[in-house]
């Protein structure tokens, strides 16, 4: 092939492919139009509207009034909001490490194709597909004070019965524990998939060099699956910040607001006290926090793609 032909060939390759259909421009917009219309009406406009509302005093009935950043100022100074944020951080900080470490441990236990592993995997995953409200109801019942299952079991070991969900120091740990058990299977599946991507010959080489299983884990497994661990961590953090149904069912934010989290606070302000503007401002504060974590997630994902190549 001489140089001229090669140059022409290259040029041909570069030239954008002719549209397959004359009317692709129209067809494209037609295909996305139902979604575009729906997203505009039920997502984009409401987002803009909520942003506007967050700068107003907006009661359920009666006249709304533009009040600038007064809602945001009031929220930041609201001692209840500070408590709520503290609780949300507490829940997240308690749940995420517990969830990730348990999920990773389970994935490591289940990775070898020994008999029965499929059954164990299913058992750990079943709570993930179980209705969240049912899960919360059953655990609330098991943690009940007088006739509770947990108290009866602990009584065998001589531990005094506790009013778990009515004790402001114990309610939050109980909600964290039950939430971890509900969702740990999800991260476990992600970690199992990541573990499959670790090249087996690395372990063989390490064994020949005399590395024990802890060193193999620390120096081979963990570095290779670390992008998945990071991603799972961020996704779990975002999920934890939005906890609502468990709180609603198990504690209603109590006792003494010790389990009142941000979404519960937003719901209460908007749909119990009908202070829509104030609640919108609180919702946007939640959005800003989640936005920050999402940006971190995207950044990590990019890094991960780079690592893979």
């Amino acid at each position: 092939m001489n140089a001229d032909v090669q140059a022409e060939w290259r040029q041909k390759k570069k030239r954008p492919r002719k549209p397959m259909f004359k009317r692709d421009e129209l067809a494209g917009w037609l295909f996305i139009s139902p979604m575009l219309l729906g997203f505009t009406i039920f997502m984009f406009i409401p987002i803009g509207f909520a942003f506007y509302m967050s700068f107003t005093d907006w009661p359920l009935l009666g006249q709304s009034e533009f009040i600038g950043t007064a809602n945001y100022q009031a929220i930041v100074q609201d001692p209840e909001f500070q408590k709520v944020m503290k609780n949300t951080v507490l829940f997240t900080a308690g749940l995420v490490p517990f969830n990730i470490i348990l999920a990773l441990g389970l994935a490591l236990l289940l990775r070898h194709p020994l008999p029965g592993m499929g059954l164990f995997r299913t058992i750990v995953f079943v709570p993930v597909v179980t209705t969240l409200v049912v899960w919360a109801i059953v655990w609330r019942y098991m943690f009940a004070t007088d006739f509770g299952f947990i108290n009866s079991i602990l009584a065998w070991f001589g531990i005094e019965p506790q009013a778990y969900l009515y004790n402001k120091n114990l309610a939050m740990p109980v909600v964290i524990l039950t939430s971890v058990l509900k969702n740990v299977g999800l991260n476990m599946v992600l970690f199992l998939a990541a573990l499959q991507m670790v090249p087996k010959n690395l372990y063989e080489a390490a064994r020949i060099d005399g590395a024990g299983s802890w060193r193999q884990f620390k120096n081979i497994t963990l570095p290779i699956i670390s992008p998945t661990v990071f991603l799972a961590t961020i996704i779990t953090i975002i999920g934890a910040m939005k906890i609502f149904a468990q709180i609603f069912v198990m504690t209603k934010g109590g006792p003494e607001s010790s389990t009142k989290v941000i979404v519960y606070y937003i719901w209460e302000k908007a749909f119990r006290l009908f202070d829509m503007g104030y609640a919108s401002a609180a919702a946007f504060i939640l959005f800003f926090v989640i936005f920050a974590f999402t940006l971190i997630q995207w950044w990590l994902r990019k890094r991960w793609v780079y690592n893979e190549d």
């Binding site: 295909f31 179980t130 049912v134 007088d146 149904a245 908007a270």
Partner: protein, 277 residues
């Protein structure tokens, strides 16, 4: 691969303990649902009901709105799933295969809504639905979920799938004079069963669990979905635990049944979407 016997025993031991904890709520739920009221408050609690009584199941099925609520959950879930799958596959195909101006901008706008928490939009949507007179109807529960994070996820999954289909298939159809729509319906959709299954499973399951939206939009007991109705069960007349547990068992059965049949598909697609996104 050789695994020494001590670590195998430890491994099975740990897994058995954790599995027992995971199964405990289910066992407790089932046994409680079969106990008579005296046994429920017995101390210490007994695991095996004696005598086994099914009254609470009959109770739940006959005296409350349970069947109606279960039907609500099923048909709202089905409507949302069908809507999402149809519209997301249409849009996903366009984003993957049809070159048109503005495509990437719109796609990014769709994807970006996945990070907007639903709590932000639900307040204006509540006011909007109130204007329309749709409060205490099923319309908000069927329409809103399609055009949010669920819809965006569906579009994303379908687009990823359609991008992998070889171009030759479309070229051949075009030479035969097929329109874009016919290519989509007759070639692309039949090929995309795994992706459609993923979107179907995820959408239905997410919707089956949906709690905040029913809580806000529905007031009448007979219009409630199961999670909402179960969460308010206590308010009716104290808590009738054996009836609540029977209702919980009945509410759990449909999803668990689907899960056991579609388990492989479900776990694999989950692992895939987590690792390749």
């Amino acid at each position: 691969m050789k695994i020494n016997s001590v670590s195998t025993v430890v491994r099975y031991g740990l897994l058995t303990i954790i599995s027992a904890i995971m199964l405990l709520p289910f066992i407790w739920m089932v046994t409680t649902s079969l106990k008579d009221p005296n046994q429920i408050f017995a101390l210490p609690p007994t695991f095996i009901p004696n005598p086994i009584q099914w009254d609470s199941y009959l109770n739940v099925l006959s005296s409350t709105h349970f069947l109606r609520q279960m039907f609500n959950s099923i048909y709202i879930g089905a409507a949302v799933t069908i809507g999402t799958v149809l519209l997301a596959s249409l849009a996903g195909y366009a984003f993957a295969r049809i070159p048109f101006k503005g495509r990437n901008v719109v796609f990014l706008a769709f994807l970006s809504v996945m990070m907007i928490p639903g709590e932000v939009t639900i307040i204006p949507l509540f006011l909007f639905m109130r204007e329309l007179g749709w409060i205490d109807t099923h319309l908000p529960l069927m329409i809103i979920p399609i055009f949010g994070a669920g819809g965006a996820f569906g579009i994303f999954v379908m687009r990823q799938f359609f991008k992998q289909v070889p171009a030759e298939l479309e070229d051949a159809a075009r030479i035969d004079g097929c329109s874009r729509f016919r290519i989509f319906v007759q070639i692309m959709l039949p090929l995309s069963k795994p992706a459609l299954a993923t979107v179907t499973i995820f959408t239905f399951l997410t919707n089956w669990n949906e709690f905040l939206e029913p809580l806000i939009f529905i007031n009448s007991r007979e219009l409630m979905t199961l999670p909402l109705a179960l969460s308010l069960f206590t308010d009716e007349a104290g808590t009738d635990w054996s009836s609540l547990m029977s209702a919980s068992v009945l509410a759990t059965l449909p999803v668990l049944t689907v899960f056991f049949f579609a388990q492989k598909q479900f776990i694999e697609s989950l692992a895939m979407s987590g690792s390749k996104e």
